[in-house]
Symmetry: C2
Subunit: 155 residues, 2 copies
DNA sequence: GCCAATACCGAATTTTATTCGCTTAAAGCA
DNA sequence: TGCTTTAAGCGAATAAAATTCGGTATTGGC
Protein backbone atom coordinates (compact mmCIF):
# COMPACT_ATOMS: atom_id res chain seq x y z
CA UNK A 1 0.00 0.00 0.00
CA UNK A 2 1.63 3.20 -1.19
CA UNK A 3 -0.03 5.63 1.13
CA UNK A 4 -2.97 6.79 3.17
CA UNK A 5 -5.83 4.96 1.46
CA UNK A 6 -7.48 2.33 3.58
CA UNK A 7 -8.73 -0.89 2.05
CA UNK A 8 -11.31 -3.26 3.48
CA UNK A 9 -8.77 -5.14 5.56
CA UNK A 10 -7.41 -1.96 7.14
CA UNK A 11 -10.91 -0.83 8.02
CA UNK A 12 -11.80 -4.17 9.56
CA UNK A 13 -8.62 -4.08 11.63
CA UNK A 14 -9.42 -0.58 12.86
CA UNK A 15 -12.96 -1.61 13.74
CA UNK A 16 -11.68 -4.53 15.79
CA UNK A 17 -8.91 -2.64 17.57
CA UNK A 18 -11.20 0.27 18.43
CA UNK A 19 -13.33 -2.24 20.32
CA UNK A 20 -10.58 -4.38 21.79
CA UNK A 21 -6.93 -3.56 21.33
CA UNK A 22 -5.86 -6.62 23.30
CA UNK A 23 -6.76 -8.89 20.39
CA UNK A 24 -3.69 -10.78 19.17
CA UNK A 25 -2.61 -10.71 15.56
CA UNK A 26 -3.46 -14.38 15.46
CA UNK A 27 -7.06 -13.71 16.46
CA UNK A 28 -7.39 -10.90 13.96
CA UNK A 29 -5.83 -12.98 11.20
CA UNK A 30 -8.39 -15.69 11.84
CA UNK A 31 -11.32 -13.28 11.71
CA UNK A 32 -10.12 -11.57 8.52
CA UNK A 33 -8.76 -14.67 6.74
CA UNK A 34 -5.26 -13.29 6.38
CA UNK A 35 -1.88 -14.49 7.66
CA UNK A 36 -0.42 -13.34 10.96
CA UNK A 37 2.45 -11.66 9.10
CA UNK A 38 0.03 -9.67 6.97
CA UNK A 39 -1.94 -8.46 9.97
CA UNK A 40 1.25 -7.55 11.74
CA UNK A 41 2.38 -5.51 8.74
CA UNK A 42 -0.99 -3.78 8.46
CA UNK A 43 -1.23 -2.83 12.12
CA UNK A 44 2.33 -1.55 12.09
CA UNK A 45 1.55 0.66 9.11
CA UNK A 46 -1.70 1.93 10.64
CA UNK A 47 0.28 3.07 13.66
CA UNK A 48 3.10 4.58 11.64
CA UNK A 49 0.71 6.49 9.42
CA UNK A 50 -1.11 7.84 12.44
CA UNK A 51 -4.50 6.20 11.99
CA UNK A 52 -4.00 4.57 15.35
CA UNK A 53 -2.89 7.35 17.66
CA UNK A 54 -2.47 5.30 20.76
CA UNK A 55 -3.66 2.33 22.74
CA UNK A 56 -5.10 3.04 26.16
CA UNK A 57 -6.76 1.31 29.07
CA UNK A 58 -10.26 2.60 29.79
CA UNK A 59 -10.99 2.58 33.51
CA UNK A 60 -14.31 2.18 35.23
CA UNK A 61 -14.70 5.68 36.56
CA UNK A 62 -17.16 4.65 39.26
CA UNK A 63 -14.53 2.37 40.77
CA UNK A 64 -11.97 5.16 40.96
CA UNK A 65 -14.27 7.67 42.54
CA UNK A 66 -15.31 9.72 39.54
CA UNK A 67 -19.01 9.11 39.62
CA UNK A 68 -20.15 12.60 38.70
CA UNK A 69 -19.72 14.03 35.23
CA UNK A 70 -20.61 17.63 34.52
CA UNK A 71 -20.56 19.71 31.39
CA UNK A 72 -19.70 23.31 32.19
CA UNK A 73 -20.26 26.06 29.67
CA UNK A 74 -17.99 29.02 30.18
CA UNK A 75 -18.38 32.55 28.85
CA UNK A 76 -15.44 34.95 29.05
CA UNK A 77 -15.40 38.74 29.38
CA UNK A 78 -13.59 39.31 26.15
CA UNK A 79 -12.14 37.34 23.29
CA UNK A 80 -8.67 38.66 22.89
CA UNK A 81 -6.09 36.02 22.06
CA UNK A 82 -4.50 36.65 25.41
CA UNK A 83 -7.66 36.05 27.41
CA UNK A 84 -8.49 32.90 25.47
CA UNK A 85 -4.99 31.49 25.76
CA UNK A 86 -4.72 32.21 29.44
CA UNK A 87 -8.01 30.55 30.18
CA UNK A 88 -7.09 27.45 28.17
CA UNK A 89 -3.65 27.13 29.68
CA UNK A 90 -4.94 27.40 33.21
CA UNK A 91 -8.11 25.36 33.01
CA UNK A 92 -6.43 22.29 31.54
CA UNK A 93 -4.16 22.11 34.56
CA UNK A 94 -7.06 21.13 36.79
CA UNK A 95 -7.30 17.38 37.38
CA UNK A 96 -11.07 17.49 37.18
CA UNK A 97 -11.05 18.81 33.60
CA UNK A 98 -11.11 15.85 31.27
CA UNK A 99 -11.91 17.83 28.15
CA UNK A 100 -11.88 21.45 27.09
CA UNK A 101 -13.27 22.64 23.77
CA UNK A 102 -13.55 26.11 22.38
CA UNK A 103 -16.98 26.40 20.83
CA UNK A 104 -19.07 28.35 18.38
CA UNK A 105 -22.21 29.98 19.70
CA UNK A 106 -23.43 31.64 22.84
CA UNK A 107 -20.57 30.62 25.12
CA UNK A 108 -16.84 30.19 24.63
CA UNK A 109 -15.82 26.87 26.13
CA UNK A 110 -17.36 23.60 27.11
CA UNK A 111 -15.63 21.56 29.78
CA UNK A 112 -16.19 17.98 30.78
CA UNK A 113 -15.59 17.73 34.50
CA UNK A 114 -15.17 14.46 36.39
CA UNK A 115 -15.45 14.47 40.17
CA UNK A 116 -16.41 12.07 42.91
CA UNK A 117 -19.67 13.82 43.82
CA UNK A 118 -21.52 17.09 43.94
CA UNK A 119 -19.53 18.31 46.90
CA UNK A 120 -16.30 17.77 45.02
CA UNK A 121 -17.74 19.52 42.01
CA UNK A 122 -18.73 22.46 44.16
CA UNK A 123 -15.25 22.63 45.58
CA UNK A 124 -13.76 22.51 42.08
CA UNK A 125 -16.08 25.26 40.97
CA UNK A 126 -15.48 27.59 43.88
CA UNK A 127 -11.80 27.00 44.47
CA UNK A 128 -10.51 26.35 40.98
CA UNK A 129 -12.69 27.27 38.04
CA UNK A 130 -14.20 30.45 39.44
CA UNK A 131 -10.80 31.78 40.45
CA UNK A 132 -9.65 32.05 36.84
CA UNK A 133 -9.63 35.59 35.44
CA UNK A 134 -12.04 36.99 32.87
CA UNK A 135 -14.89 34.56 33.43
CA UNK A 136 -18.32 36.09 32.94
CA UNK A 137 -20.59 33.11 33.48
CA UNK A 138 -20.39 29.36 34.08
CA UNK A 139 -23.41 27.16 33.48
CA UNK A 140 -23.17 23.60 34.68
CA UNK A 141 -25.19 20.55 33.68
CA UNK A 142 -24.87 17.18 35.32
CA UNK A 143 -25.09 13.73 33.81
CA UNK A 144 -28.06 11.78 35.13
CA UNK A 145 -27.43 8.72 33.02
CA UNK A 146 -25.02 7.63 30.37
CA UNK A 147 -26.95 6.11 27.50
CA UNK A 148 -24.00 5.77 25.15
CA UNK A 149 -20.33 6.60 25.56
CA UNK A 150 -18.09 5.37 22.82
CA UNK A 151 -14.50 5.94 21.78
CA UNK A 152 -14.95 3.87 18.62
CA UNK A 153 -15.85 5.63 15.39
CA UNK A 154 -18.01 3.60 13.01
CA UNK A 155 -16.08 2.84 9.81
CA UNK B 1 -4.69 -8.13 48.01
CA UNK B 2 -8.01 -9.28 49.41
CA UNK B 3 -10.30 -6.94 47.59
CA UNK B 4 -10.98 -3.63 45.96
CA UNK B 5 -8.48 -1.40 47.73
CA UNK B 6 -5.76 -0.07 45.49
CA UNK B 7 -2.25 0.35 46.78
CA UNK B 8 0.45 2.58 45.35
CA UNK B 9 1.61 -0.04 42.85
CA UNK B 10 -1.90 -0.55 41.51
CA UNK B 11 -2.37 3.15 41.08
CA UNK B 12 0.92 3.57 39.28
CA UNK B 13 0.02 0.71 36.95
CA UNK B 14 -3.33 2.29 36.17
CA UNK B 15 -1.71 5.64 35.52
CA UNK B 16 0.70 4.07 33.07
CA UNK B 17 -1.85 1.93 31.25
CA UNK B 18 -4.29 4.79 30.90
CA UNK B 19 -1.60 6.63 28.96
CA UNK B 20 -0.19 3.70 27.03
CA UNK B 21 -1.65 0.25 27.23
CA UNK B 22 0.95 -1.17 24.87
CA UNK B 23 3.57 -1.02 27.58
CA UNK B 24 4.93 -4.50 28.30
CA UNK B 25 4.94 -5.97 31.78
CA UNK B 26 8.71 -5.84 31.56
CA UNK B 27 8.68 -2.10 30.98
CA UNK B 28 6.22 -1.52 33.79
CA UNK B 29 8.17 -3.75 36.15
CA UNK B 30 11.28 -1.71 35.47
CA UNK B 31 9.53 1.60 36.13
CA UNK B 32 7.90 0.39 39.34
CA UNK B 33 10.79 -1.71 40.67
CA UNK B 34 8.78 -4.91 40.83
CA UNK B 35 9.16 -8.26 39.10
CA UNK B 36 7.47 -9.10 35.84
CA UNK B 37 5.42 -11.78 37.58
CA UNK B 38 4.15 -9.31 40.13
CA UNK B 39 3.11 -6.79 37.49
CA UNK B 40 1.41 -9.54 35.54
CA UNK B 41 -0.53 -10.59 38.61
CA UNK B 42 -1.53 -7.01 39.40
CA UNK B 43 -2.73 -6.21 35.91
CA UNK B 44 -4.68 -9.44 35.74
CA UNK B 45 -6.41 -8.58 39.00
CA UNK B 46 -7.13 -5.01 37.92
CA UNK B 47 -8.91 -6.37 34.87
CA UNK B 48 -10.77 -9.08 36.77
CA UNK B 49 -11.95 -6.64 39.40
CA UNK B 50 -13.17 -4.25 36.73
CA UNK B 51 -10.87 -1.33 37.32
CA UNK B 52 -9.66 -1.75 33.76
CA UNK B 53 -12.81 -2.04 31.68
CA UNK B 54 -11.17 -2.50 28.34
CA UNK B 55 -8.19 -1.70 26.19
CA UNK B 56 -8.90 0.20 23.01
CA UNK B 57 -7.14 1.82 20.08
CA UNK B 58 -7.76 5.55 19.80
CA UNK B 59 -7.92 6.66 16.18
CA UNK B 60 -7.03 10.02 14.72
CA UNK B 61 -10.48 11.22 13.83
CA UNK B 62 -9.24 13.70 11.25
CA UNK B 63 -7.68 10.86 9.28
CA UNK B 64 -10.92 8.92 9.19
CA UNK B 65 -13.06 11.81 8.10
CA UNK B 66 -14.58 12.89 11.39
CA UNK B 67 -13.25 16.42 11.56
CA UNK B 68 -16.34 18.08 12.95
CA UNK B 69 -17.51 17.57 16.51
CA UNK B 70 -20.79 19.03 17.69
CA UNK B 71 -22.56 19.04 21.00
CA UNK B 72 -26.30 18.98 20.54
CA UNK B 73 -28.65 19.77 23.39
CA UNK B 74 -32.04 18.19 23.01
CA UNK B 75 -35.27 19.09 24.75
CA UNK B 76 -38.21 16.71 24.54
CA UNK B 77 -41.95 17.44 24.62
CA UNK B 78 -42.56 15.43 27.73
CA UNK B 79 -40.69 13.32 30.22
CA UNK B 80 -42.65 10.14 30.43
CA UNK B 81 -40.53 7.03 30.72
CA UNK B 82 -41.78 5.98 27.34
CA UNK B 83 -40.73 9.16 25.59
CA UNK B 84 -37.32 9.14 27.24
CA UNK B 85 -36.68 5.49 26.47
CA UNK B 86 -37.77 5.77 22.88
CA UNK B 87 -35.54 8.75 22.28
CA UNK B 88 -32.53 7.03 23.84
CA UNK B 89 -33.05 3.78 22.00
CA UNK B 90 -33.36 5.47 18.66
CA UNK B 91 -30.72 8.15 18.92
CA UNK B 92 -27.93 5.77 19.88
CA UNK B 93 -28.49 3.86 16.67
CA UNK B 94 -27.14 6.73 14.61
CA UNK B 95 -23.49 6.31 13.65
CA UNK B 96 -22.80 9.98 14.18
CA UNK B 97 -23.79 9.83 17.86
CA UNK B 98 -20.66 9.07 19.87
CA UNK B 99 -22.17 9.89 23.25
CA UNK B 100 -25.61 10.43 24.69
CA UNK B 101 -26.19 11.65 28.24
CA UNK B 102 -29.40 12.42 30.01
CA UNK B 103 -28.84 15.66 31.88
CA UNK B 104 -30.11 17.82 34.71
CA UNK B 105 -31.18 21.32 33.87
CA UNK B 106 -32.83 23.19 31.05
CA UNK B 107 -32.61 20.46 28.44
CA UNK B 108 -32.90 16.69 28.52
CA UNK B 109 -29.99 15.21 26.58
CA UNK B 110 -26.60 16.21 25.39
CA UNK B 111 -25.20 14.41 22.37
CA UNK B 112 -21.69 14.38 21.04
CA UNK B 113 -21.89 14.15 17.28
CA UNK B 114 -18.95 13.32 15.01
CA UNK B 115 -19.26 14.00 11.29
CA UNK B 116 -16.96 14.80 8.39
CA UNK B 117 -18.09 18.40 7.98
CA UNK B 118 -20.95 20.84 8.40
CA UNK B 119 -22.80 19.46 5.42
CA UNK B 120 -22.74 16.00 6.93
CA UNK B 121 -23.89 17.41 10.24
CA UNK B 122 -26.73 19.18 8.51
CA UNK B 123 -27.73 15.96 6.81
CA UNK B 124 -27.61 14.10 10.12
CA UNK B 125 -29.72 16.76 11.74
CA UNK B 126 -32.38 16.95 9.05
CA UNK B 127 -32.58 13.31 8.08
CA UNK B 128 -31.91 11.55 11.34
CA UNK B 129 -32.10 13.53 14.56
CA UNK B 130 -35.02 15.77 13.63
CA UNK B 131 -37.08 12.81 12.49
CA UNK B 132 -37.26 11.36 16.00
CA UNK B 133 -40.58 11.86 17.76
CA UNK B 134 -41.24 14.21 20.67
CA UNK B 135 -38.34 16.58 20.09
CA UNK B 136 -39.13 20.16 21.08
CA UNK B 137 -35.79 21.86 20.42
CA UNK B 138 -32.25 21.03 19.40
CA UNK B 139 -29.43 23.47 20.02
CA UNK B 140 -26.10 22.69 18.40
CA UNK B 141 -22.64 23.97 19.25
CA UNK B 142 -19.56 23.20 17.23
CA UNK B 143 -16.03 22.60 18.37
CA UNK B 144 -13.64 25.26 17.10
CA UNK B 145 -10.59 23.83 18.81
CA UNK B 146 -9.78 20.97 21.11
CA UNK B 147 -7.64 22.25 23.96
CA UNK B 148 -7.70 19.04 25.96
CA UNK B 149 -9.28 15.67 25.32
CA UNK B 150 -8.29 12.97 27.71
CA UNK B 151 -9.46 9.45 28.50
CA UNK B 152 -7.07 9.15 31.45
CA UNK B 153 -8.33 10.01 34.90
CA UNK B 154 -5.71 11.46 37.26
CA UNK B 155 -5.09 9.11 40.17
C1' DG C 1 6.60 -19.33 68.92
C1' DC C 2 3.50 -21.27 65.49
C1' DC C 3 0.15 -21.00 61.72
C1' DA C 4 -2.22 -19.02 57.84
C1' DA C 5 -2.54 -15.71 54.36
C1' DT C 6 -0.50 -12.93 51.03
C1' DA C 7 2.80 -10.39 48.23
C1' DC C 8 6.58 -11.19 45.72
C1' DC C 9 10.00 -13.38 42.92
C1' DG C 10 12.95 -16.38 39.40
C1' DA C 11 12.82 -19.75 36.19
C1' DA C 12 10.44 -22.72 32.98
C1' DT C 13 7.00 -22.92 29.55
C1' DT C 14 3.72 -21.27 26.29
C1' DT C 15 2.20 -17.86 23.32
C1' DT C 16 2.86 -13.84 20.61
C1' DA C 17 5.42 -10.47 18.01
C1' DT C 18 8.76 -9.68 14.65
C1' DT C 19 11.81 -10.60 10.84
C1' DC C 20 13.02 -12.39 6.40
C1' DG C 21 13.16 -14.57 2.07
C1' DC C 22 10.17 -16.38 -1.27
C1' DT C 23 5.83 -16.56 -4.17
C1' DT C 24 2.07 -14.54 -6.45
C1' DA C 25 -0.70 -11.04 -8.60
C1' DA C 26 -1.20 -6.82 -10.84
C1' DA C 27 0.27 -2.88 -13.60
C1' DG C 28 3.04 -0.66 -17.08
C1' DC C 29 5.10 -1.01 -21.36
C1' DA C 30 7.68 -2.36 -25.59
C1' DT D 1 2.07 -11.29 -25.94
C1' DG D 2 5.90 -11.42 -23.06
C1' DC D 3 8.94 -8.93 -20.00
C1' DT D 4 9.81 -6.12 -15.94
C1' DT D 5 8.73 -3.83 -11.79
C1' DT D 6 6.18 -3.24 -7.66
C1' DA D 7 3.76 -4.44 -3.78
C1' DA D 8 0.82 -7.65 -1.11
C1' DG D 9 0.86 -11.78 1.01
C1' DC D 10 2.66 -15.83 3.17
C1' DG D 11 5.27 -19.62 6.06
C1' DA D 12 8.92 -20.53 8.82
C1' DA D 13 12.52 -19.09 11.95
C1' DT D 14 13.72 -16.17 15.69
C1' DA D 15 13.13 -12.90 19.42
C1' DA D 16 10.30 -11.18 22.86
C1' DA D 17 6.43 -11.27 25.78
C1' DA D 18 2.90 -13.44 28.53
C1' DT D 19 1.75 -16.92 31.62
C1' DT D 20 2.39 -20.54 34.98
C1' DC D 21 4.32 -22.48 39.00
C1' DG D 22 6.87 -23.59 43.04
C1' DG D 23 9.08 -21.51 46.57
C1' DT D 24 10.55 -17.55 49.99
C1' DA D 25 9.72 -13.71 53.01
C1' DT D 26 6.70 -10.91 55.65
C1' DT D 27 2.82 -9.94 58.39
C1' DG D 28 -0.90 -10.51 61.59
C1' DG D 29 -3.62 -13.51 64.59
C1' DC D 30 -3.64 -16.74 68.17
Amino acid sequence: MINSELDTTDIEILKLLQRDASLTNKEISFKLHKSIATIHERVKRLKEQGYIQRVVAILNRKKINRSLIAFSQVLLNDHTADTLNTFEQEVIKFDEVMECFQMTGTFDFILRIATSDMEAYHSFYRNKLATLPNITTVQSFFVLSETKSDTAYPL
